[in-house]
Symmetry: C2
Subunit: 410 residues, 2 copies
């Protein structure tokens, strides 16, 4: 039997999905599992998208151009203009999800051994896509005590070597919900300029900024227009994760030329997803506002609730729909497994993503979890109760198990 590849062996198990078999078993035991582990919103897809799919009047479901349907790219350009992102249809390449956009960005700019710097915790699959490209992630840990703010620029500079080709950020951030300030983005710009790096900027959560602070796109930064590769997706914005439509945006012709070759090799992004994505760009502003308000409410409810549980701490996320919280446990991986395997509260449990998988450093995030507020407030209330009860009885809990208070009986 021939050997499988070392690269495949090096690929990380998804921190979001690796415990899924335990969740399946819990369900088989009749336990209801609340999924806060995955960024799959429960909010509806825009009716415009669903109608566009129903109204498809084609006899043949053909390939589209490798770079995506032109009318979708034109409409995306207009959408970006609303955010003062000055790009044209020709700068936009439609991809099979944001995942493919990151993969093709790396494949087109990085060679094996090249390095990129990524502030962590970070979206776990960046590491996977770096492995696909043979590139090396050099990580800088943001910390929960700083609310996951950008680490000092000096920390970045310490990591820069002749092999450094870029910096990857996610803004608003998955998994932390952090939103980079203008000042922080300017520091990143100066670094990118000084060392002539690529800036890979994943901005799929731009619609979800809650604090009144402005969303600063990488394309708002002057003087590095040729260095920016922006990653986008309709998955979260329109609750269309299953369509697999994303985009890679670059004003750098050489980059686009390389990316297009990878696009041509895989022939075409999904036709029907593109049709639905294009229709979604016409979604009623009311629809977007309702979703936005829903997340605002959930965020407040969840974070308040978490911080009320003894020993739990969550900073206040400013965007996206995640938070990374610290739990009073010995090991969050074990705790998340235990929640699915050994615990239930009124025949229910909760599926959280251990945060260790969002760090490449093996010692980070050991008492942290990522929680996605993708369920309704009523469900989140149940989840908070489950978590509270679980922490009382989890064998590795660090919450003081005080002896029951003897009440004086008169």
């Amino acid at each position: 039997m021939p050997e499988v590849s070392d690269r495949g062996k090096a690929m990380p198990d998804s921190p979001i999905r690796k415990l899924a078999p335990l969740a399946e078993k819990a369900k088989e035991r009749g336990v209801k599992v609340y999924h806060l582990n995955i960024g799959q919103p429960d909010l509806p897809t825009p009716p415009e998208a669903l109608a566009a799919i129903k109204n498809i009047d084609r006899k043949i479901l053909e390939y589209t151009p490798s770079e995506g349907i032109r009318s979708l790219r034109q409409k995306l350009a207009k959408y970006y203009h609303k955010f003062n992102i000055d790009v044209e249809a020709d700068d936009i390449i439609v991809t099979t999800g944001g995942s493919e956009a990151v993969t093709f960005a790396f494949m087109s700019t990085l060679d094996p051994g090249d390095e990129i710097i990524v502030p962590e915790p970070a979206y776990a699959n960046y590491e996977a896509f770096a492995i696909v490209a043979g590139a090396v992630i050099k990580s800088i840990a943001a910390t929960i005590d700083d609310g996951f703010a950008l680490p000092p620029v000096e920390e970045f500079e310490k990591l820069i070597t002749p092999k450094t080709k870029g910096i990857m950020i996610c803004n608003p951030n998955n998994p932390t919900g952090y939103l980079y300030t203008r000042e922080e983005m300017n520091k990143i710009r100066d670094l990118v300029k000084k060392y002539d790096l690529y800036l890979f900027s994943d901005e799929v959560y731009r619609e979800f900024c809650y604090t009144g602070s402005p969303y600063i796109s990488a394309f708002h930064l002057e003087g590095i227009e040729q260095n920016v590769v922006l990653i986008d997706s309709v998955s979260k914005r329109y609750s269309e994760c299953g369509l697999r439509i994303g985009a890679l945006i670059s004003k750098n012709k050489e980059v686009r030329r390389n990316v297009l070759k990878f696009c041509q090799a895989r022939l075409s992004p999904p036709l029907i997803g593109q049709i639905a994505a294009e229709a979604s760009l016409d979604a009623d502003p009311e629809y977007m506002l309702n979703n936005y308000n829903e997340y605002v409410n959930r965020r407040k409810f969840l974070i308040d609730g978490l911080n009320r549980i003894e020993g739990v701490y969550s900073p206040i996320p400013m965007g996206a729909f995640y938070t990374v919280a610290r739990l009073p446990v010995d090991n969050a991986d074990n705790f998340c497994s235990w929640l699915l395997s050994d615990f239930e509260y009124e025949k229910q449990t909760v599926f959280l993503a251990p945060a260790s998988g969002f760090y490449t450093a093996s010692d980070k995030g050991m008492d942290e979890v990522r929680i996605a507020y993708v369920l309704k407030k009523g469900d989140l209330a149940v989840c908070l109760k489950i978590l509270e009860e679980a922490l009382k009885v989890y064998p590795g809990s660090k919450v003081r198990k005080s002896a029951p208070i003897k009440e004086s009986v008169e």
Copy 2:
């Protein structure tokens, strides 16, 4: 401006798509362009698939499992059983097109520098996917004079080194239409067994075998069940190229475990494509038969027509819907460009794919083109006429330009 990757620079331009800008310009000049360059059938998608899309009754277009929807995988298993391919749902991983299946097969089994042997001419993107994986293709040329039969096993053995990890075949073959015989497949099996190699077998055209010779799947070969990685796609079978649904099938758990990690990183194959693909498996047998008969007729018409043109030679393809033909020209790349840029016949021209792009060796296929018979007979008749007229006036034509015969006038 930072440098793009060498890997991206090494990626080949698609031989199928690289001349597309010339075709666009021809269309702008008002010239009708017949596309025989690309495997995009003009036959209808099954009505069952179109109906399934119209009937989608979901409010949220969610991720599916990374390995694909279970009911689709179960139904695919049943489909394969009809071809005596003994696989179960658990052996099948749904991919985003056959393209992703090849990519993940390579990524999961090959490390940078590993070698695979590919008989050529071969589907051009195998080379692209090998570059993605950092793997090296060692090619053996099949020849038009042998009708593109499998080259002698001794030729394969000459190429085997400690780095050799696999053999990649496409059967029925794109671009040649060749169908490997039982004897040839057994020779491949013996090689695979002797050197413990992977056998990557792209069998997306299995429904289209025209000569009564049996279709031999790699999974029909005894004793190498753990070595086979089968590639499939619904694109050609059901004229569903735009859905982007394929499959990777392996009975080797280690391979599947690695593949699944790449699948998890990209989260999910397209939801709607999977729904439509599942419905397609219920397509009326009449539908399949009509398509089959249509290709049978086109094949005969095209090949007869080609071989009637002076200096043109096409072997008789046994399957798929392509042929590689030899043309009486100095250089088929130049000729195909010239057809689009400098030639028209009654305001029409034809887009052919130069065969050089289907060989990795730089000196092969210089007077060959791939022709896809994806258009109706009436259109093929026009294309044959265009080709005939073009060869009369192409400056690099090798057809004897005889002086006009003087007719005796009484």
